[in-house]
């Protein structure tokens, strides 16, 4: 489904070139549940952003379902992001001036073309699935962290994406709530066949995924040390 070929991403800090991701080759198959494990500063977030089309690699190719998307312009990438990828972040990243329901609907505002379902009905369905339908008219800062993360997952799912990218989704939650979130992601993968990529620095959380890769100094390494 997604294939990275010799992907490198480098930044300049002053005159010094910093390679956040070095020469990564990676294939993620459809319906996978993949854990990307790495310590902080290992380059795992940059790799996730590249997979999620939020950043473009300095060199190398990204193939999405066989098509090279590393040379597409910003508008095209935004469209693909809208339709294909759903993000779940550590800090939830909900917009506090919008209600829960409005937050879930946000991606549907940027659809170029038509949706073949009613977005509001779909959003309400997702919210009831995650047990927060009653909170739909609340503002995000009035609900708990676990509930906020469920809203974020509902937002990630509203466009029926092929991939969910979760960047440390349990980082701001207690372990019990964190486990619930991981269970939700696991179910999405199992029941609906959504490809889930979970980025984390916690070994035991990564172990809940079906396959793990380890990142160190921007490279994919065989063993996590």
């Amino acid at each position: 489904m997604i294939k990275l070929e010799n992907v490198t991403k480098s930044y300049f800090l002053g005159d010094e070139e910093v390679k956040a991701v070095r020469d990564v080759n990676l294939e993620i198959k459809s319906k996978e549940f993949l854990g990307i494990l790495g310590s902080s500063g290992s380059g795992k977030s940059t790799l996730m952003h590249i997979i999620g089309l939020l950043e473009q690699p300095t060199s190398g190719k990204i193939l999405l379902e066989g098509n090279d998307i590393s040379k597409l312009d910003d508008t095209e990438l935004s469209k693909i992001r809208n339709r294909t990828v759903g993000f779940v972040f550590q800090s939830f990243n909900l917009i506090n001036r919008f209600t829960v329901l409005e937050n879930v609907l946000l991606p549907t505002k940027y659809v170029k073309g038509r949706l073949d379902y009613d977005p509001v009905a779909k959003a309400e369905d997702l919210l009831s699935r995650f047990g927060i339908y009653e909170r739909r008219n609340f503002f995000p800062n009035k609900i708990s962290g676990g509930q906020q993360q469920r809203v974020a997952i509902a937002r990630a799912l509203i466009m029926e994406p092929k991939i969910i990218l979760a960047d440390e989704p349990t980082g701001n939650l207690d372990s019990k709530t964190g486990d619930e979130i991981i269970d939700i992601l696991k179910n999405l993968n199992k029941e609906f066949g959504v490809t889930v990529i979970l980025v984390t620095h916690e070994h035991d959380i990564a172990l809940k995924t079906k396959r793990q890769i380890y990142i160190k100094d921007g490279r994919v390494v065989e063993k996590y040390l």
Binding site: L54, S78, N82, L106, P119
Partner: protein
């Protein structure tokens, strides 16, 4: 299934933000409001003044030539209406009137003598203008009798002590126009019988006048037997230029070229229009400064808004907003903010103009309304585009990490 209209979402998002920052929104719009208010008011007053003066001239009829002492309207020491207040030049007399009457293109010749004085009558005293003229003077000034009748040629020949009152003068002295007819008025130790009252004209000078036969002024009122000005009614439009040349030739036999000015009504209107368009442009330019300041206020607030919402921009970009979606979002906000101020300013200006109209014929036209909306949305776009572009060009990752 169609998704919710993007523009509805944009406007809704903007209004949410306005609601959350009521004071900031109000203050920002206030800048534009004041700008629009001052521009629209100045245009309205300028137009009103222009229309007022034009209508004054139009009520005197077309095909008109004015002969004024001095260099008239076109040069220095320009004269006012009717010649009152003229400095320098010559005074015309009956000989000029008679010689001008011999020009075949001229239909009628109206001499004007004018003097401001206190008029007594009906136990009241009122300040007004005594205007010595002939029977054609009523034609010239478009005065028709509302009560009684106008004085005639024979009144002039006989130097009768009869007067026709302006409408306001009659009602102020005698209570009503009908009561004025037949009564006696007094000014400058002279007694006159009121034979008629003119219809209301809407201009101070005519409505507060006492019209008397010009020959009657020859005496204590007008010992020199002179006139401030002479008006010529030309038989038809195409004869105006010839009549003007002939009148000039006629007067040059007696006076030097610098001592009098012969002006066509259209020339005069043109000069007035020129003056007013300059005054108007200057006023609008001054008003525009406040619009500019208002625009800068909007730009300032929009920059603050972009910074405040950097994270939101990142989130929107992550869920699929393109750069142009973000650009549109912030532009919508600045345009709405600006138009809000513009409409408010327009409403306020309309109210003020409606009040001013009681005293003065100011007017707001559809042109001003359209211009206001176009200009205020233009300001919104112009001053909003820089902050909006900054937002659109934020790198999504950096934006989403912004705290």
């Amino acid at each position: 299934m169609k998704t919710q209209n993007g523009y509805v979402h944009l406007a809704k998002s903007a209004f949410e933000d306005f609601k959350r920052n009521k004071v900031r929104t109000a203050l920002t719009s206030l800048g534009i409001m004041i700008g629009v208010l001052s521009v629209v008011l100045l245009i309205a007053l300028g137009l009103g003044l222009k229309n007022y003066i034009e209508s004054q001239f139009e009520s005197m009829g077309a095909n008109l030539i004015m002969i004024l002492p001095g260099s008239g309207f076109t040069g220095e020491g320009g004269a006012g209406f009717g010649g009152a207040g003229t400095v320098g030049g010559v005074s015309f007399d009956e000989r000029d009137v008679n010689s001008l009457k011999r020009v075949s293109e001229i239909d009628y010749v109206v001499p004007i003598f004018m003097k401001g004085t206190a008029v007594e009558g009906g136990g009241e005293k009122k300040y007004g203008y005594v205007m010595g003229t002939n029977e054609d003077g009523f034609k010239l000034m478009n005065v028709k009798p509302e009560a009684g009748e106008l004085f005639t040629k024979s009144d002039i020949q006989a130097s009768s002590k009869v007067g026709v009152l302006g409408n306001t003068m009659a009602t102020d002295l005698f209570g009503s126009v009908d009561d004025a007819v037949g009564k006696t008025i007094r000014f400058e130790d002279l007694r006159f019988k009121v034979v008629g009252v003119g219809e209301k004209k809407g201009d101070q000078e005519t409505d507060n006048a006492v019209f008397i036969p010009y020959k009657t002024t020859f005496g204590s009122l007008n010992p020199d037997k002179s006139f401030w000005s002479i008006y010529l009614g030309v038989k038809s439009d195409d004869m105006v230029t010839i009549a003007k040349t002939k009148a000039e030739e006629m007067l040059l036999k007696r006076y030097k070229a610098d001592d009098f000015a012969v002006t066509e009504q259209s020339e005069l209107l043109e000069t007035i229009n020129q003056i007013f368009s300059i005054i108007n442009s200057v006023l609008v330019a001054i008003g525009s400064i406040s619009l500019l300041v208002g625009g800068i206020g909007i730009m300032n607030i929009m920059y603050a808004t972009v910074t405040e919402r950097t994270k939101e921009v990142g989130i929107r970009r992550a869920v699929g907003a393109t750069k142009s979606d973000i650009l549109k979002q912030f532009l919508t906000e600045s345009v709405l903010l600006s138009m809000f101020g513009g409409v408010l300013g327009l409403v306020l200006a309309t109210i003020i103009v409606m009040i001013v109209r009681i005293f003065f014929p100011a007017s707001i036209n559809i042109f001003a309304v359209v211009i206001t909306l176009v200009i205020s949305s233009g300001i919104g776009i112009f001053f909003g585009v820089f902050p909006a572009r900054r937002a659109a060009n934020l790198p999504p990752i950096e934006a989403i990490r912004y705290e």
